[in-house]
């Protein structure tokens, strides 16, 4: 089965071709440079850039995948959640392409695509999906069936990285630069709070941590620059500890031996190391999405659609973008 995937939910314009579980091509055009000057994603800028780039990106994916649209079995596209005006571009492009060549059009949930972007073994798993827009813990008794345990009640973890970077005068996106600074700092230099670590539920909150960093920066005044590495290391450790502890706690609670991690923040080396260490100690299997598929990409969209279509899923006929689409719990089993 050959599927073209399209993803435009936020600030990456992406298209990919997959066949029988393999990625034949993956084209991603990042808009980071366009948004860097604003310190975050500006929806109108994102949408205009998607429209400028989308046809070139899709052509690139088709060319590299050596496939003509006629030869596709289906077109898959991110329906939501995401920025409305950004989603519109990918969905309209996909609708045009599918209409022209008479192909089925599969609307895909962005977070579900992230969820299954890790190389998961069969059996139960707990997943941490952590990015600039989402921080979510999910329990899956089997592949295809999942239940959202909790998510962030305010900022997503990646968003907290961006905002702390901004208050420290570091460039956007915050994740990579904070990680770089943190490598030179002492993670115990500042005792930042570990929000909701013992909240008794599976939710997250990073807004208070961000405020604690702001307060500390205010107290440091001119010394902020000298203590930059320590500030970054301490902040990063606080985020990582919360993510690791809650994920491990969920795995233990639901008696699963497999943890899957995906989303842009899953690229963070400190998070990877901490999870590897803990999972090794607890005898759990840890599955990270490949780094190139951690950030938003169309390959994960196409792969999920292929998996579902090959198991008899019939995409709906009449649908539109769904910017606030929640990841619903689902009990249907899906094989890998």
């Amino acid at each position: 089965m050959r599927i073209l995937g399209i993803e435009t939910s936020c600030d990456e314009t992406s298209a990919a071709v997959v066949a029988d579980g393999c990625v034949l091509s993956s084209a991603v055009s990042s808009q980071v440079d366009f948004h860097a000057v604003y310190g975050g994603v500006v929806p109108e800028v994102a949408s205009r850039q998607h429209l400028k780039l989308i046809d070139a990106v899709v052509r690139q994916a088709l060319t590299q995948g050596r496939v003509h649209p006629r030869e596709l079995d289906a077109v898959a596209v991110t329906r939501g959640p995401g920025l409305p005006s950004a989603l519109l571009v990918g969905v309209a492009m996909a609708k045009g392409l599918a209409a022209r060549y008479g192909k089925p059009l599969a609307p895909v949930h962005h977070l579900e695509a992230h969820l299954y972007s890790s190389p998961i073994d069969s059996g139960a798993f707990v997943a941490l999906v952590v990015s600039g827009g989402h921080t979510m813990l999910i329990h899956a008794p089997h592949i295809g069936g999942h239940r959202v345990l909790g998510s962030t009640v305010d900022d997503a973890a990646g968003e907290a990285f961006d905002k702390v970077a901004q208050m420290l005068g570091l460039p956007y996106p915050g994740g990579p630069v904070i990680e770089l600074q943190a490598a030179q700092g002492n993670p115990r230099a500042f005792d930042f709070p570990r929000p909701m670590l013992h909240s008794g539920d599976w939710n997250f909150s990073f807004s208070g941590l961000k405020t604690a960093v702001r307060r500390t920066v205010g107290l440091l005044g001119g010394d902020k620059t000298a203590r930059m590495a320590d500030l970054c290391a301490s902040f990063q450790l606080a985020v990582v500890e919360v993510l690791v502890e809650k994920t491990l706690a969920a795995a233990k609670k639901f008696r699963v031996r497999q943890i899957a991690v995906s989303g842009g923040v899953a690229c963070n080396g400190s998070l990877r190391q901490a999870l590897e260490k803990r999972c090794q100690r607890e005898g759990m299997r840890l599955r990270f999405a490949e780094k190139k598929y951690c950030t938003d990409n169309a390959a994960m969209v196409a792969l999920l659609a292929e998996r579902k279509l090959s198991q008899g899923w019939l995409p709906p006929d009449d649908w539109d973008i769904q910017p606030d689409w929640r990841l619903e719990s689902r009990s249907t089993e899906m094989s890998i």
């Binding site: 604003y38 052509r59 609708k95 045009g96």
Partner: protein, 220 residues
């Protein structure tokens, strides 16, 4: 360019989405519907029953108008043509509106003023001149309502707007006021009069946004 060439046109800048198929200045079929362009565009395309293999060029209404509507029209067209090198012609929406007005009023000369709500208490205005049956977009500006008279004057064959009311523009009292939605048929027929033998690449086409993406910034 031969006027008998067959075209397919999309006009998505207003709340009324319209698609048309034509040959030369003759409209063969047109479908339109009010509502959400993102939801309507694919069913309307199917209803129109176009075979793009039989079409010589495509036409798209460039706006200004609804940003999201325009994005849907452009992105859908890019999807249709993603494996083709078919020429695409962009037609400024005020020109199509003026063509519709001229046809309705049976005029071959005169000036038209097309007005759109540009939000933020401003109006987009476009003056279109009709001389001997030929249309030319003379002036486009975004300004507060109070500044329009100074920019465009007050003498027009008609004012065209599908979303504004004459009461809000006292200096235009007495001028014929037409409520017209831009149509794909007018857009396509106008394209036939244009020579776009050196049509730009599809990637370089884009809607007419009346403002930069972020106020205070000149690019993006």
């Amino acid at each position: 360019m031969k006027t008998s060439r067959r075209w397919f046109a999309i006009e998505s800048s207003s709340s009324q989405l319209s698609l048309a198929l034509g040959e030369g200045e003759t409209v063969l079929r047109e479908v339109s519907e009010s509502g959400n362009a993102s939801r309507l565009i694919e069913p309307l395309y199917r209803r129109l029953g176009v075979r793009l293999e039989d079409v010589d060029f495509c036409v798209i209404g460039q706006g200004p108008g609804s940003y999201n509507g325009l994005r849907v029209g452009y992105a859908f067209l890019k999807g249709l043509l993603c494996a083709d090198e078919m020429p695409v012609c962009e037609i400024p929406t005020p020109l199509a509106l003026a063509a519709q007005a001229a046809s309705q009023l049976k005029l071959s000369d005169g000036d038209f003023l097309a007005l759109n709500d540009a939000r933020r208490e401003e109006i987009f205005g476009a003056k279109v001149e009709l001389r001997g049956g030929a249309l030319r977009q003379a002036e486009t500006r975004v300004a507060p309502p109070s500044g329009l008279e100074q920019i465009f004057g007050r003498s027009f064959a008609a004012v065209i707007s599908y979303e504004l009311k004459v009461e809000d523009f006292p200096f235009l009292a007495g001028t014929p006021w037409l409520c017209l939605f831009p149509t794909a048929s007018a857009t396509g027929a106008l394209a036939c009069r244009q020579d776009f033998s050196r049509a730009p690449a599809l990637s370089s086409l884009g809607p007419h946004y009346v403002r930069v993406a972020v106020p205070g910034r000149s690019s993006a």
